[in-house]
């Protein structure tokens, strides 16, 4: 099988050699010069990528951040400033008992951010009385 394929291929090749002819070039010098130019272009060492684009990226990013910060400071001054820890703590500004037998005191939770209102004098509620 293989031998017959080889023979067929040999026969086809001989036929092609006999009948195919190379077309003559109309302007061989021009084509030659273009080919040489192309080869020269490919062989020419490319300039190494300069750091310019990276530097440009860095500085443009930094400038954008700075501009964003400045705009925030100008347009939203209250949001821009760092807040003190006290602003995150609850606070009883005033507290008033509304019944004569009651007293009420407000104080900060020790070591915490919460706040306590301590009522004194509220009637005891027996266990049988529902509060839910």
């Amino acid at each position: 099988m293989k031998n017959s394929d080889d023979r067929e291929w040999e026969k086809t090749r001989n036929l092609l050699r006999e009948h195919l002819t190379v077309p003559p070039l109309t302007n061989p010098d021009f084509i030659n010069s273009r080919v040489l130019e192309a080869i020269e272009r490919e062989e020419r060492p490319r300039p190494a990528a300069s750091g310019w684009s990276l530097r440009w990226l860095f500085w443009s990013g930094a400038t954008a951040l700075l501009m964003a910060g400045l705009l925030t400071a100008v347009l939203m001054p209250r949001e821009f400033g760092l807040r003190s820890h006290d602003e995150f703590i609850s606070q009883v500004i005033s507290a008033r008992a509304e019944m004569p037998q009651l007293s009420v005191t407000g104080f900060q939770v020790p070591d915490g951010r919460g706040v306590v209102l301590w009522m004194e004098g509220v009637d005891y509620i027996p266990a049988g009385e529902g509060v839910r």
């Binding site: 807040r83 609850s90 507290a95």
Partner: protein
Amino acid sequence: MKRLLVALLWMSAAGLQAGDRIWSALVLATNENPPRPVPANLEDFAPTIRRVFGYNSLYLLGEKKRNLVTGAEEWLVPSKAFFFKVQVLGKKPTCYELQIELYRGQKLLVTSHTRLARDAPLYIRGPQWGGGQLVLLLEVQ
């Protein structure tokens, strides 16, 4: 530098956001041996209640949540016996200014002008009930 960044992130995250809600709860605090497991909703409050009020076991008797809208008045009714009227006087970047009234049934017990920061609750020592202490909680969440 890293610490500064973390602080900045925390500060911005801790700021008030749109859609804040106020949560109220009525809690019974008791002393039991051994202490009973803390209900999941009260885990954040248990250490303070233990330290300030001196109780080791908590029961959540009722809770209620409402939206916080500046200028609005909300009734928070964590139980039939105790409830709050809360008026939002103002909103700052980190806290709400609230006028809080605590009622027991028809009776007004206490009026308070309080600045409530997010996740920094108000604990109110209520009356004794049975063998324990009633504690009322208000928190901006």
